[in-house]
Each structure stands twice: as C-alpha cells, then as structure tokens.
C-alpha cells in the first residue's frame, strides 16, 4: 500500500517456509509474554524503571498499542511527581549540571527524562510517521515540560520540535499529522514567547505568522498538490493581515495577489483538486453570508462579492480552453454562477443557457455523480 507515493513497509513476513513460520511463532510467544508482564506490573502499580524499560520494548514492537502508551505516561507521571517533591540532596554532578542549565536540580532531572523519552520516540516516528499515538505522546511530553519547567527551558524544546516537524514534512509534505502538530508547536512557542499574553491575538512580539506564511509558500512551490499547505495558508491569512495592520488598499492588493497565485497554479494544473479548494476559500471570504470564512477585504459587501464573482467566472471560463475534459472547471463555473444569480439576479454575467451547457458537459465527464447533477439541474430549473 502506498501513502503519497511512499511505499509502506510490510510488517508481516511473506515467506511462508516452515523455518520462517517457526521463527514467527517464537516471536509471537515472546510478544505475548512481554505484554502480560507489562500489564501485570502496572496492575500491581509497579512503576519501576524495569517496567518502564519493558514498555519501551513492547512499544518498539507495536507502537499502535495505545494502552501501553498510557501506562508509560502513568510511570512517567509517577517519576516526575517523585522528582519534583524530592527532599533528598541531589548529587554534586547533578547540581552542577542543573546550574549550567539554569534550572533547579529537580526540574533539571525532569527535563533530562523528557529529553530521553523524546529521543526514544525519534526512530519510531521515522518508521511510523502516521501513528497517532506517537505524535500524541510527544505532545504530552512537551505539554508536561511546559507545565513543570520555566519558559526558557520549555521554549527550547518546542523550537527543537519545529525543526523536527519541518524535517518530517520534508520527508512527506502531505502528512496531516505533521501539519496539525506544526500548528500546535507554533502556538506553544508563540504563547511562551509572549510572556503569557494570549498568542491567538497575534500582536505580540512572539508572533510567528509571517514565517509560517512564508513556510506555506515554500511548501506549495515544492509541491502544488498539498491540501494541508493550502489549508494552513488559509488559516493564517486573517491573522497575517491583522498583524500587518493592513488597511483597505493593502487588503485588496493582498487578495488580488492570492488570486493571481492560485490562477497561475490552476493554469499549470487544473486537474488538481487542492487548488480548487483554495480558490473556493478565497471566494468564500468575499461572501458576506458565509460565517465560516473570515473576510479579507474590508469593507466587503454585496458589491464586492458580485464584482469578484464576475471576474473569476470570466477567468475560469478561459481555463476551459485546452482543458475541456476537466470536471473541476465546470463545477467551479456552476458554483460561482449559481452564487452570482443569487446575488445579482438574472441578466448578469452568465446566462442560464450557458449554465445548462456546462452541466451537460459535467454529466458526461462525471457520470458516477449523476444524482448530484440531477439535483443541481432541479435547482437551476426553479
């Protein structure tokens, strides 16, 4: 099975020789014994280092076994609590190391444990980049760090995470776990850097919205079909504009530039659905009755909406030439002209006759969705 063109490594052996099956049988017995051991120990509240190591073994073999990740966290929580409540004097070495890191010894211990666990996750993440539980555990480790450690320590860890997630996205730019995680990381860094201000407002000095916007540009340029990158870009735009304190003209210029970008992409590859989604998003920001997409232009009323609809319908119409078999073009034309009819009424940019023509083409290209086209036809008829 392929994921975005990256072949998945088969975990099971295909070799059905007797020797191989014996080997596999032994492995299964060993695994089951290990599993039983871990479960028994945790039930007995044995949160020792031995148990911890056993969970490492088990998780390396099967990172999808989320209960064991829970157990691992139980153990870690137990250890952290013990460290932080410590009454005993730390050793000379530990004190010296803690001072160097500008941390009290107890917290330094916690930091070291967290770092060790993060290290443990790296080879697993490389091998299973789409395992929810690995990303989740990483998230938990960093959340714990933020809770127990001073900001300057925690933010270093988060910065390292940004590096890691960029690398993971470099390996597979369409891994949505990576993109989701990146948003989490950016939010955490912004919060920590703005000294407790609400990072969401984005007006603090820790604001990363410009660099993140540039990152989406970079990712799109290296691979146009990137739903996640386009989506992230759309999420960043409202904050970006308010961070730049953009006025009416600046906003208009910005929107036009985004339309120019997506049009250029659509001319290069109108068959790529992710591009059409972004085009739809841009159009949605202009729709005053669309509550979900924050407006880009200011003001943005019916006039603006109608003008842009007319412009884009014209632009998309031209894309038909040489791509008469592209269903997305017809879909877009029908959607936008439908909207235009609602906004401006009849006698506008597009005649109903032309719309029926497009629907006919669309039905021919995409017969599997006949039901949907019939519905659309009914709507148009009324």
């Amino acid at each position: 099975m392929q994921s975005h063109g990256i072949p998945r490594v088969a975990a099971t052996t295909l070799d059905k020789s007797e020797q191989a099956r014996n080997k596999e049988r032994k492995q299964i017995i060993q695994y089951q014994a290990l599993e039983r051991d871990v479960v028994d120990r945790v039930k007995a509240k044995d949160y020792s280092d031995t148990t911890f190591q056993l969970t490492s073994q088990l998780l390396t073999q099967n990172p999808e076994y989320y209960t064991i990740w829970n157990y691992r966290r139980l153990i870690l929580q137990h250890v952290f609590a013990r460290e932080l409540a410590a009454d005993e004097e730390p050793s000379e070495q530990d004190s010296a190391a803690a001072e160097k890191a500008n941390l009290p010894p107890a917290q330094h211990e916690v930091l070291l444990l967290i770092k060790e666990d993060l290290q443990f996750l790296i080879p697993l993440l490389k091998q299973y980049p789409k395992c929810y539980w690995i990303w989740n555990h990483r998230s938990w480790l960093l959340g714990t760090a933020t809770k127990h450690l001073p900001a300057h320590s925690a933010v270093t860890l988060w910065q390292a995470e940004l590096g890691l997630v960029s690398k993971m996205l470099g390996l597979d730019s369409r891994n949505f776990h990576g993109w989701g995680y990146r948003r989490e990381v950016v939010l955490a860094i912004e919060r920590l850097n703005s000294n407790g201000d609400d990072g969401e407002k984005g007006s603090g000095t820790g604001n990363m919205v410009e660099s993140e916007f540039a990152y989406t540009t970079k990712m799109i340029q290296s691979n146009l079909s990137n739903f996640s990158a386009w989506h992230y870009r759309s999420q960043l735009i409202p904050r970006l504009l308010s961070s730049r304190k953009a006025d009416t003209n600046t906003r208009r210029e910005f929107l036009d530039a985004e339309f120019e970008l997506i049009t250029r992409a659509l001319y290069t590859d109108p068959y790529d659905q992710s591009l059409w989604f972004y085009h739809q998003y841009l159009m949605a920001t202009l729709n005053p009755s669309n509550a979900q997409a924050l407006p880009v232009l200011d003001p943005c009323g019916r006039e603006e909406h109608a003008r842009y609809l007319e412009r884009e319908i014209g632009s998309v119409r031209e894309m038909l030439e040489g791509a008469e078999d592209c269903k997305y073009i017809y879909q877009a034309l029908l959607e936008y002209s439908g909207l235009h009819l609602e906004v401006e009424g009849e006698g506008g940019e597009v005649a109903l006759g032309e719309m029926r023509e497009w629907l006919r083409e669309l039905r021919g290209i995409d017969p599997l969705r006949e039901g949907r086209w019939r519905d659309l036809e009914r709507k148009m008829g009324s």
């Binding site: 290296s222 146009l224 250029r264 001319y267 290069t268 590859d269």
Partner: protein, 507 residues
Amino acid sequence: MDSLDNTSWDVVITGTGLPQSLLALSLSRSGKQILHIDRNDYYGGDEAALSLSEAEQWVKKHGGDASENADSAYSHATISHSEAQEEGAKKLGFSRAYSLALTPHLIYARSNLLPAVVSSRTHSQLEFQAVGSWFTVTAPPDGSSSQSRLTRVPSGREDVFRDDSLDLRAKRSLMKFLRFVASYDEESEQQRMKQLKSLPLSVALKQHFGLSSATAVAPLLALALPTVSEAETTMEFAVPRIACHLRSIGMFGPGFSAVLPKWGGLAEIAQVACRACAVGGGVYVLGQGVKNATHAEDTGDSKLRLELTGGEKVLAEWLVGCPRDMPSTISTHNMSRAASAEYMTKSISIVSSPLTSLFPPTAEGGVIPAGAVVWVESASSSSRSVRILVHSSESGECPASQCVLYASLRGDPSYLDIAVQHLLESLAERPKPEVLWRMQYRHHAEAEQPRNTTTSENVVTLQPLSTDIVLEDDVLTSAEQAWRKIMGDGAAEFMKFESREGVDEDE
C-alpha cells in the same frame, strides 16, 4: 602468477568495459572458472576513467586517424593545455586528482541497471550522486555584442508553475504536452502517438500543442538530447526520451531524474563488478587480448582454442566480448572504417571554477547535485546542438573548485569549443572561468552488428555502449542474454544474489 599457458576455462571474457564487466558480475556466483582479460593495462576499456597522465598516454595511443586505430572505438585524439599562468592563478592539480570519464553517461533513475546493482549486492560499494538541473544556452546572433543566455529547463509541474518566462497559456500548453508524454505508451494515447510520431518535435508542438515560442521548445529539446538537428528530431525519438526523464524524477529523491557514479562514472561500476567476480574466483589479467581463436567445431572436444597476445594458449568453453576485442578469425566484425561513418566528437575540458550556479539544490532541503546537463542551441534548426555534461568536484572526477565539462557533438567538431565558451560566458561569472586543459577525440559507433551473433556456437558477442550520452537499458539486457546462454537451463535469477557472509550489509 603462474603462466596462463595451457590453462582451461569455462568462460573467457575479453575487455573490461561495462558490458563485459556486467556479465562477469552476473557470473560471479556461478562457480564457473572465469578468465577475464583486457588488452589495456587499465580497467574499464572504452568506458575507462583516466588520470591526467593516463589521459596523455591514451591520447598518444589514439592520436592517429581512423585507419591507424582500426581496432579501437576512438581516434583523432588531441590534447591542449592553457597558456602558462602567472603566480597564484588557477592551475591544474596533480595527475591523480583527476578521474576523467571517456564516456560519461546519464543513468536515469528508472534505468534497469540500478535495480540490478542493488540485487547483486554491489550498491554498497558505489556512491551515486544526483544529476540535478538541466539548462539551455542560447547564443547571441552573430555580430551582436550581447551575451549568451543560460536558462534553466523546467522539469516538472512545480518548475513550470514557477517559471516566469512562460505566460499562463504557455504554462498550460506545456503541461498538456508533458501530460501526454507521461502516458504516451498507454492505450489511451497510442492512437495519437501513432499519428504524430514521424513529425519533427518542433512541428508537432506548434501544430498540436500550441507551443511555438522558442522559450517552450528549446527546453523540451534539451530534455530529449538528440544528436541530430532540431529539424530532424522526430516525436518518435523525443517523446520516449522525455518520458524517461519525467518518469525518473523523484524516484530517488525530489527534484532530480538521473544519477552519476562517483569517482569515474561507468568505469567505477565496471571495476566494482570485476571485483565481485574476482571475489567469486574469477582470474583477472591486464595487458592481454585474444589474438587468435579456433572454432570449437574444428577442435576435437568442441572447446575453443585461444591464443593470447602474450603467446599463451588457453582452452575455453565460452568466449565473450565486444566486437572490437574479438579476433578476426572468429568474428564478423568489419575492420573497415568506411562501414561506420557515424562518429561523435567529444571533448573533456577542465574548468577553473566550481560553477556553483549550475548546481542549485534539487529541492527544498534536497541534495546538492554533482552533475548538470546543458544543451547549447545551435545557430539554426538544421544544424546540430552540443550537449554538455557538467560534473562538479563532488563527482570525485576533479579537485575542489574545479569542474569537468564533457561535450559531445555528432560530426564536425568546430562548434564544440565555441559551445563550451558560450556556456562559460552565459554564467556571467567574474573572472570568467577558464579552460585549464582539454582533450578531444572521436568516438566511433559500432558498424551494424546484429546482437549476440555467434559465428561459432561458443562465441558470444556483447553489445557495446552507444556513442550517445544516455545509458540505454540494452546494455544490461545484452549481458542478460549472454548470461542465459552460458548458464543454460540451470540458470537462477539474473543478478540476484544473497549478501556474502562477513560482508557488511550497508543500508
């Protein structure tokens, strides 16, 4: 080593060029007694990589015209150094700092050679570098004072997206053509391909794909790398070549379609292959060729009787080699040069700059390539263009801060040097990069020789490499055919070996 005289072998392979070495590799686990000889005193044969002093000797040997070099693929070799330099000026490194390939080839990612290198467990001894960017150089019209222009060839969708020299319509048309090329051999496009195949590429682009501007046509020609003129380059030739490039992009990493073996190109692969055969028991002797051979049918026991250049007499069940290494008594190889009028003029130039602008990273966070391909446009559509492979010092072929330029042109050589100069000018580097040293030679194509003719039952002829710069799949399939003949019915899988015990399995 004891004399070879009166020894008996299962297989005698003559010549250590790539085809013969691949065969040796394929036989390296067969348990057969193999004697592998080469009449030169170096490995690699026609595909050898030479140090500076080796190159000088080689040029002396191949300096004459075609008739003096009747049994060689090369002739008309010349060498020239730049003028003596002032103190501190860039100069040549020592001789062994160079490993100049006589026939550098582009190995596309989807070439059949690479999986064979992996399955035969030799990949861990080879280091492959990326061949990243492709460029065209347009010369200024005669008499004009403007400079030659270097343009990067868009080699995929994202490149087309970013290319500012293409307007929206050109982008769309170019993408349409690339989409056609990507599926030209599928059922849906076979009819269309049939219609278009004998049209010249530039004509088909204009009439059927709406692409007529030079900015769109030149890059496609560059990807096809024809040896003939633009007017003679047909769709039939160009489309599969461009498809090979498109289908290879991203196979080993984003942004590049071909690789080059470090330290001397194909010669390195040949050496590793021979080493593998030696480990398997093969015996290697340089400085020996097969002078004479008697047909097996004429001898008592149906073995071949071979006489080596040193006078030794050996018995062999099989004799394998390329036509030029075969003794005339047994091969139908036509020694007359008239039969092969086709030749490529090639030059190797050592340049005094790392030419970094030709080696941008292959992708965001991608590798830095060690090779680049440049297509220098000819003055008119009826004359031929020059193809230049540029290798940086990362290829291991020259010292740091220098580059090696391998230029080739079919036929008349006078434009070859001019093309190299156009390329160097177009980079707009100050000071202008200089050619410190160059050699030039002719590479003759094989006269029409049917593959694997056996004039005797036990003689197998391998197909030599073409004079072109793209490594064809034929080379490996020719070796496979020979292997099958020799192994007979007991043959296992071609080039599929287990790793040897005690040898580290590199990841």
